[in-house]
Amino acid sequence: MIRRTLKRLAPTWVASPLRRSIQTACFLAFLGLFFYVCCPYPTRPAGVWDNWLPQDANLQTGRVGAVTDGAGDESLAAGRVVHVLDRGVDPAEYLGPFRIAEAGDRQLLLDPRDPLTPEQLDKLGTSFGPWSLSDDPPGAWPSHYARGLAAKERVAAELFLLLDPLVSVSTAIAGRTWVWSLGAAAVAIAVCLVVPRGFCAYVCPMGTLLDLFDWLLRPWRRRFVRSGRSPGGTDCSPGGTGRLSARGENAQPWWAWLKYLLLLAVLAAAMFGVLISGFVAAIPVATRALAFLAAPLQTAAFRGWYQVPPFGPGHFVSLGLLAAIVALGLLRPRFWCRYLCPTGAVFSTAGLLRLTQRKVQPGCIACGRCVEICPFDAIAADFSTRPTECTLCRTCGGVCPTKAIRYVPRWSQIEDRPTDEADVRSRARRRFLAGTLGTAAGIGAGIAAAGLTRTLGAGFAVADAFRPVRPPGSVPEPQFLATCIRCGECYRACPNDVLQPLSFEQGLEGLWTPQVVADWSGCEPSCNNCGRVCPTGAIRALALEEKSAARMALAVVDQSTCLPYAGVEACQLCVDECVTAGYHAIEFMQVGTEVDRSGRPIEGTGYLAPVVLAEKCVGCGLCQTRCRAINAVEKGLIAESAIRLQAGSGKEDRLVTGSYRALRRREERRPKPDPTGVKAGEGYLPEFLK
């Protein structure tokens, strides 16, 4: 009974439970990586608890009690290590890490984590608080977003992108660089020698997504096909076999070759340094679809609609592309995978070296069930295998009533129906001709695409061309454009959607590449997620201390609108943001001071105005976000933020290799012009006072 229901609802599950199970597991893993691992929000910053007062202390052991009049906090539990900072003195003094030995209601008993030195014991003995307890030692750079991703990332968050061989290969060619994910791609291909094109049936999340949609679209597909608009004259009517009726029994339709054409086009464009694989390769299309559609929904559901950034034309183009791919399912299940997917074409090509194969034994009674159920159009009309299409999903074997279908090593001697390779050979001339034409068309299309992209591209030669602010650690712009696969992982992993896709601001060349939208949000000091999840190294995976030294842009103050400069009102939002973030890259300058008749400045007149220190500003954009939100949007005093990021030469660091910190140190070490010749350490008291 169960079996019958299952058979009706999910015949492919019954036919090939292993395949469907693995497929489901992979899809769940993909969703998990996307919705859970890459989601930056659950993480919490290191805790800080102020206003604790030291009580009785034993200066032999260092054990000390502490109480608070405040609200207390249950998370301060026994065993937790807190760093103690005495704020009762100026500057505040660090007393060291302590382990909570006992925790009561608003009181703690602390033991030093490490034995205290006599100096530390003295400090403790003379410390009267108030203390501030914290998870991190004082001065530690915040790292909660980075830690959050690292803690969840058991496998690489961008795993499926790494496994897509077209991503790695095209990037390596276009960027003229070694892409470390080539290794992962090689593994994927190697596995697919054993399970030819198995990626498509077992692993590919795009394929699974299409399976789901194909299942949902079933009713409409029947209607659609019945209306007689079926392409290629396939007999898809309920009583039919799903086989081609025209142009030779065993031949595939001409568009079955489109995937090779697309593959050639992608590779040809890559040869010319233009990366278009992100438009068509399976995994980037899938990840981008989630990033553009599912991630905003997740944000809306859990964090509020107001946190969803507005859509641009680029979003709609990408979603249109996805809709088209899904809609092709109205023609046939997995239309995209069968005929168009260039990643599939890579596996098909690799399938020429396959080690295993589907074979049909003489027991075949020609019932046609296998042809009907095959999702990849891999079974010819005579039930023989189209080996480059077959994904070894074993569904046909499951439905074969006589168990005539076997999956065996290629060299296995068991009897097999002649494959269409024989058929192909018989028409070699035509195939050769078509092949040549196809190759030429593919390469031509690739060159055309490359040309088009460049023509409508970033325009490096143009001086005032649009220069987007790229994520921290992005390689130089031409190489960035040649290696960014436009998968959308970085926008996904970016807290508060600082990174958003470009539309056509930078032409076709920049479509869907990430840019920093500081009007929306600023880059979090504690985060390096974008580089961590980038599958191709277009954004380098930087350690947090490197990332916090990498300049992505320069904040520039517009003195005609900045409120203090313009004499409108006092404002220090940008400075506060910069100090809180820990960059200290904006200084004050007193402006608009009034003077009395004797020329003396009048206390209390004028304003403190911001001055950006170019050598310290990393271009995180937090200043711009706040200025816009408060002064422009909330108060309506100005039209747009008065402090804005600018990218371009001299305003950003774009290193292919090497350390940003070392770069900054080299800059600092450049000797500053000494105006006087007075050496450091001299000149405190002039001679006449000694």
Partner: protein, 439 residues
């Protein structure tokens, strides 16, 4: 709003310090001097072979400290001084130059000690000296003419450079002081300029670095203590007080012409009534706004919130007109901010808030945070954020509300880390809601 709260905290800190000094002056406590140079005062309650236990009281808190014998230099009980371990390299230099003066052990010093301290510190460079490079714009006119000629130019005139560039930036303060020392060397042959530079140096050590001994040294060099043409006399008096000799401060204050800042210093030192007497007589003069602002501040420092309100209200009654229009307007702003601060934080009395739900809002990270407070029977029953557009608020929204209910107030609550602005917006909005509902 935020500034008001901070200012308030700072003021109460100063008040506490003042009280402590008074208390310390009354009762002679036992003292333990550690080998590190630090000193702690209190009552020695126990002593054994290995350790000495000291009971100290700060405000209403009493606690004990158990010090190992081998870390102690000396124990002072009344007039007896018992040295347990000799200091390396003789006696601790300048009594307090080593180790920071820590409350509550802030030490009272004799006139001789103060003089010695000032001279010793003043003649040696501060510890940051060697690591601070000498940097200044080449365009500056190092002859330091007075008054500065021509239009305002902070790249040419030294005073304007200090005003515009150095003073607003903490990161440049040491560099600025270093530059002024250099200016003194450059002008070594022009005695007329010396006093002006020294006076400026004193002001920078005092106002920027809070290095009171050096401030006092340079002010004394400039002759501030002997010549009441200098306005810095009051500040020099404050240095004496901060260094531990209030009589010296009072003596100097009496010797110089009354200034508005005298009111502030007297209030800080706890002489509130005297401060207010001066303020009252000054308020009859032409700058009533200034006198009343200072009087209000004096009351606030002493915790006399209602009287402070009255003075600030008086400031608002002074019409902003005439030559001093700008100043009076600025004092109006200041008074208004203080009135709000007092009403929101100092005068918050839940007993005077009738039962009910009250709403208010305060600016958060990007937009106002709206809060609803429910009061029941003189207690804050609940605090709820009704609307906000914060981006990353972590747990601040629930945390801060919970803490407000837990402490039944809006002061002494620490912000949720990395969401300080949201926490403060909730606190401010709650304070506003309660202040608006107070009968």
């Amino acid at each position: 709003m935020r500034q008001t709260a901070t200012c308030q905290r700072r003021c109460s800190g100063i008040l506490a310090l003042g009280l402590l000094l008074i208390v310390a002056g009354l009762a002679r406590a036992d003292r333990i001097e550690l080998l590190s140079g630090a000193k702690v005062e209190g009552e020695i309650v126990a002593r054994d072979e290995q350790s000495v236990t000291l009971k100290a009281t700060v405000g209403s808190r009493t606690f004990t400290r158990k010090y190992p014998i081998d870390r102690i230099h000396a124990i002072v009980k009344g007039d007896d001084r018992e040295v347990l371990n000799a200091m390396e390299g003789g006696t601790p230099a300048g009594s307090a130059s080593k180790g920071k003066a820590r409350t509550p052990a802030a030490v009272q010093r004799t006139r001789a000690e103060i003089d010695q301290w000032i001279d010793q510190e003043g003649r040696t460079p501060p510890d940051w000296w060697d690591s601070t490079p000498l940097e200044f714009p080449k365009t500056l006119d190092l002859s330091f003419p007075e008054p500065a000629p021509g239009p305002w130019n902070n790249q040419k005139n030294v005073g304007q450079y200090l005003w515009d560039v150095i003073h607003p930036n903490q990161g440049k303060w040491r560099q600025g002081v270093r530059f002024m020392h250099h200016l003194l060397t450059v002008n070594k042959d022009r005695p007329d300029v010396h006093r002006r530079i020294m006076n400026t140096l004193g002001g920078m050590y005092y106002r920027l670095l809070q290095d009171f001994p050096r401030a006092a040294y340079w002010w004394r060099r400039a002759g501030v203590d002997k010549d009441d043409r200098f306005w810095s006399g009051v500040q020099l008096a404050e240095c004496y007080w901060k260094m531990g000799n209030k009589p010296m401060a009072m003596e100097l204050l009496r010797g110089i012409e009354l200034q508005y800042s005298t009111i502030k210093l007297l209030a800080d030192m706890g002489q509130t009534e005297e401060a207010l007497r001066i303020a009252e007589s000054a308020a009859q003069g032409e700058a009533a706004d200034l006198a009343c602002v200072y009087a209000g501040d004096a009351c606030r420092v002493a915790g006399l919130h209602r009287r402070a309100l009255q003075y600030y209200e008086r400031v608002l009654k002074v019409p902003a007109q005439g030559q001093a229009k700008g100043r009076i307007e600025r004092n109006h702003t200041r008074a208004r901010a203080n009135i709000e601060g007092i009403k929101l934080f100092d005068l918050l009395d839940l007993a005077r808030v009738p039962d009910g739900a009250y709403r208010s809002s305060s600016m958060g990270y990007e937009a106002p945070v709206h809060v609803e407070v429910t009061v029941k029977g003189g207690r804050i029953d609940s605090v709820r954020v009704t609307d906000h557009r914060e981006k990353q608020y972590y747990s601040s929204i629930t945390d801060t509300c919970r803490k407000i209910v837990a402490v039944q107030g809006v002061t002494g609550i620490d912000a949720t880390s990395s969401a300080t602005i949201t926490s403060e917006a909730i606190l401010n909005a709650t304070a506003k809601a309660l202040a608006g509902a107070t009968k």
